[in-house]
Symmetry: C2
């Protein structure tokens, strides 16, 4: 079957040929898969091409920071107009890429620490934002219209066959590597060391093209290594209200907590206040959550059956290794986290999402976007949404049915913990979210 | 911190110890990871325990059918009360498991060919249905409250280190293996052969506990190897309406098609009717879809930029291998499909889902459940739902905005192709879906 306007002859292996050319240009810089760190900037100038779609592993925890620091130093006369794909714009050099005109476009999820500088650079026209996504949405696009040409990822170690060990911080490495490797993109991994053998294989060597031993171990951000003594009386009161008024009332067994003292207070009160209500085994048994230290009392007192994690938490490695009944771990005893599957679990398998927010309007719309900051979303709009596709009934989900008639279905519980006034007596409840004006601003 | 009622001493490695005991009991039946096929039934009686949560790889395409046939023959006096987790209850032996009382409970997604027998066995009380899920929902629960104790999976080949090659039919093997292996479950793979080396690694050997060479290659169901000449004039007319009235009108570039002649007609008309409208490059560029043969004319005439696949399609292996620019393939030239990630892409990254249905009511609620059949859902309620978490704007998505005011957002296009009357002049449009009565039936 031929249409009037067929492409009579064309190559169907252009991506594969381009990958071969990239690797050929690198011949002088690599020994098999291995590149020396001192050559990395020069190697990047050979392997990249202007306009490439480049995925850089970087989220609110693990960072391919050696590779991002090197990338920020390539010569913009040679490598420019990159389209950056990144979960979290969190490090200064991520924005230096745009300052130096190495990149000019970004698709991302969250930009916590760089939110103010990002807003300025968007105003100045130095960054074009494709879109701000939830993690799962961004990962989904890696298989559709945002497939990476080159990905820069991070792992603990590699063996001589290129197999990667990610230890407790597997996080989003598998989804990035898969989307890139199987569409003839180039996968470049920074590792802390190359070993004769690795404790387990997290990413098969046949998915990895190039490996560099970084100048220092990859950066990792602690999310919740804080002093529980800083939890306030008001937060304890709110936590009691949640346990009694929401978790007990709705029999919430599968859930995802946000990060911070508000939800940490709930975790800490389960073995005392929760126990006094006779709720052990009845609520909070299955979690989608990183290994927060504030979960320890509930785990030790037998409240928790399982925890699946997006990533790990600095300092929790030995505790997790000693509690394989609770966490997903490998035969090497370390956590196997997986950001993509934890987001799927949080979306579809959890009955409740609870978080905190900065502003809320009269219709309970909430936002963390306030004027002059573009922070983005992370996972909240994914896990904090009621997925229409969900079908399995649980008491918590069915309890939330508000429809009547033939078409009733359950609903996910979505809870926001806020106080009436934020720091500086800023009101939490507003007529119109700041986000409305932020969204209208031309970009 | 101690609560009044702590578990003073308990083991935190019960899952790991149980796995060790299972493997110890198998000592006489295995040589390293390898079990001989003649011993498989006896081996299953040693490795399984009554009440186990057992995941059996089986969907509308790939089947771990050697393992399901063997499982159906274990002695129910020893192995009983299994809780089966399976995407699609499609083979007779899947229901024989319940007939013989080896299993008594099932969580699943779809039961096409066995829908009538399933409905009977539920009525008779021989099967308890936990829930009927979408694929992504079921996969999510594997990391929360339905983590498998034992998984039976299928691959093309294994090497001596236990690494698995799945060829074009990777499908759901990775998500099952990950959920099981990293919570000290047992992963058992049937393979077509054991080779000295495999073309690529799809599942690392350190995730796989036991391997058996099956009596014949794993079963694989062709989904769409049919004669396009059977497409009717009405289907061609409907396809033209869709191209002109929906895809052109809304600039639909990223999409998922259902299976069948209705949507095949659309695919076939792109290079002719679509070309005559000047739509090449403007619609239908990025697909989430198996490699349907009816996509070939659109691919050959330059309409399609990429296709990510849930699974493969029998007979399309060589075509896919010759078109790596379009499909996700490995260095061995064969497809890397991935059901979990394709469902994520279909949910979050696609602008349109189009399918067919059996009944529709006045509010456009639709269902394929009719009296006396429990077919389930597959992926449709997932990909055919508007995900609240989605944030990235595309023309197709923004076009669907119906809200006004500050909180406007886009919406996924969900299209059902139906004719007014089905076979036997059964009306498609009904006052009340049969599914309402089916849902009310006590089970």
């Amino acid at each position: 079957m031929k249409s009037p306007d067929v492409f009579a002859t064309r190559s169907w292996t252009t991506r594969r040929e381009r990958k071969k050319r990239r690797l050929l240009r690198l011949a002088g810089y690599r020994d098999g898969r291995v590149i020396q760190k001192a050559n990395m900037i020069a190697a990047m100038e050979e392997l990249l091409e202007p306009g490439d779609r480049v995925c850089l592993e970087g989220n609110n925890q693990k960072q391919a920071d050696f590779l991002s620091r090197m990338l920020a130093e390539v010569n913009p006369a040679r490598i420019h107009s990159l389209h950056l794909l990144i979960s979290v714009l969190s490090r200064p050099e991520h924005l230096d890429l745009f300052e130096r005109k190495v990149a000019n476009r970004v698709d991302f999820s969250f930009s916590g620490p760089q939110a103010v500088r990002l807003a300025e650079m968007v105003s100045d026209g130095r960054i074009q934002i494709g879109a701000i996504h939830t993690y799962l949405e961004l990962f989904g696009r890696y298989f559709v219209d945002l497939t990476p040409d080159v990905s820069f990822i991070a792992a603990d170690s590699a063996d001589s066959a290129g197999n990667l060990y990610t230890g407790a911080n597997t996080e989003e490495t598998p989804v990035i590597a898969e989307a890139t490797a199987f569409r003839d993109g180039l996968v470049v991994a920074q590792v802390n060391e190359i070993s004769k053998s690795i404790p387990r294989v997290d990413i098969p060597g046949s998915w990895v093209d190039l490996i560099v031993v970084a100048d220092r171990p990859y950066a990792i951000e602690p999310l919740f290594t804080r002093d529980p003594a800083l939890i306030t009386d008001v937060q304890i009161l709110m936590a009691m209200l949640v346990i009694r008024g929401i978790y007990e009332k709705h029999s919430v067994r599968t859930l995802n907590h946000g990060i911070g003292f508000d939800t940490a207070a709930i975790e800490l009160l389960l073995p005392t206040y929760g126990e006094s209500l006779g709720l052990r085994g009845k609520i909070c048994t299955h979690w989608v959550l990183n290994p927060h230290p504030t979960l320890i009392p509930a785990i030790e007192s037998g409240w928790i059956e399982s925890v699946h994690c997006f990533g790990s938490e600095v300092g929790m490695e030995r505790y997790v290794a000693e509690r394989p009944d609770i966490f997903f771990t490998g035969s090497d005893d370390s956590l196997r986290s997986n950001r993509a599957f934890s987001q799927v679990a949080g979306l579809y398998a959890a009955d409740l999402f609870i978080g905190s927010t900065l502003q809320m309007d009269g219709q309970a719309n909430s936002s963390t976007a306030i004027a002059g900051r573009i922070a983005g979303f992370g996972g909240a709009p994914n896990m904090g949404s009621d997925p229409h596709g969900r079908r399995h009934p649980t008491p918590a989900w069915l309890e939330m049915t508000s429809e009547t008639g033939d078409q009733t279905r359950g609903r996910k519980l979505v809870v926001q913990l806020v106080q009436t006034f934020r720091d500086g007596m800023q009101p939490t409840f507003v007529e119109t979210l700041d986000a409305v004006a932020v969204g209208r601003r031309p970009s």
